[in-house]
Symmetry: D2
Subunit: 100 residues, 4 copies
């Protein structure tokens, strides 16, 4: 199962891999920028706004991964007529992402 | 006004500064960890879960800053009888944080 | 297309229809209860807590419908090899639900 | 304490009471509309969209109540130099509202 997953994954988000990595590097930079703001005693609402922007960016990465997951693993499982556990897992992912 | 803000701020979240910086460094580390997961073609739901954890951690930092802001700037403005613009600004911050 | 959708739907969430209707009636009751709290000048945080509960209940209904939608329409479209527009639509639904 | 709260409250959101009640009646209507959609076997994404609209409307009511609460009870407590427990309670309310 794990082996299969790994193989499937190889094809899954590889097309978006550069975009995903680029966005995560930007989020890493945002996290560093917020540290600087805290060190410089910047105004709280301004820092919170940057945290909201970081969170928003992380949500976008999650949504892109989710789409790739549905396009890839979930669709493959459904075509192979063993979609049920995959959809259950997917619902758990969506639920946690919605609730944060 | 800006000058005043800066002075007020100095006292504001200074007590939580170390905690805030420590948490932001952890978030920076989480962002790097997620990059590694993407590079290693890890399973999408596992990456999304780490993004949810990062988002959750960023929300906690925002809530701590929000509390310090209310304890500090907002409370001071209210005591000084000029709380109204501060509360309006605060509501904007909360609204954006809720909507992401 | 619309015709097809209607037919598909018939089978879609029919199994959960009673549960869904029951939950929506409960949400309707919560909305009425909150009106009563406002009329009785109840304490704001208590009313907000009831609004949070209502929102939570609405999210649960949305998640159940989402699961039924993926189990039904989306899975059918994927099996019929025309899953792409369905998945795009699905991602829009998830994105809006996450952002509220 | 409870007695005091009641008195304070009387003045608190009374100015927005009509707006709040009107919005809650609209939300009640939305909950009924969604029941009708379910009964008529309407398309899942369309129902989910209506649930998102309902949730959005409930958030707006919560934000208005939150503002009235901060303008009223919280500001009064801060002026009376016993703001700390009120701010702690407020943070709990905001945290739960953000997490849903």
């Amino acid at each position: 199962m794990v082996e299969r997953k790994k193989t499937v994954h190889h094809y899954l988000y590889s097309k978006d891999k550069d975009v995903l990595l680029q966005r995560m590097r930007k989020i890493e930079g945002q996290a560093r920028g917020i540290q600087r703001m805290i060190e410089e005693n910047r105004y709280c609402p301004d820092i919170i706004q940057q945290l909201t922007a970081l969170t928003h960016a992380a949500d976008e990465v999650a949504l892109l991964l989710l789409q790739d997951h549905i396009d890839g693993c979930v669709a493959e499982a459904i075509r192979g007529e063993h979609g049920d556990p995959m959809i259950r897992e997917l619902m758990g992912v969506i639920r946690r992402a919605m609730r944060r």
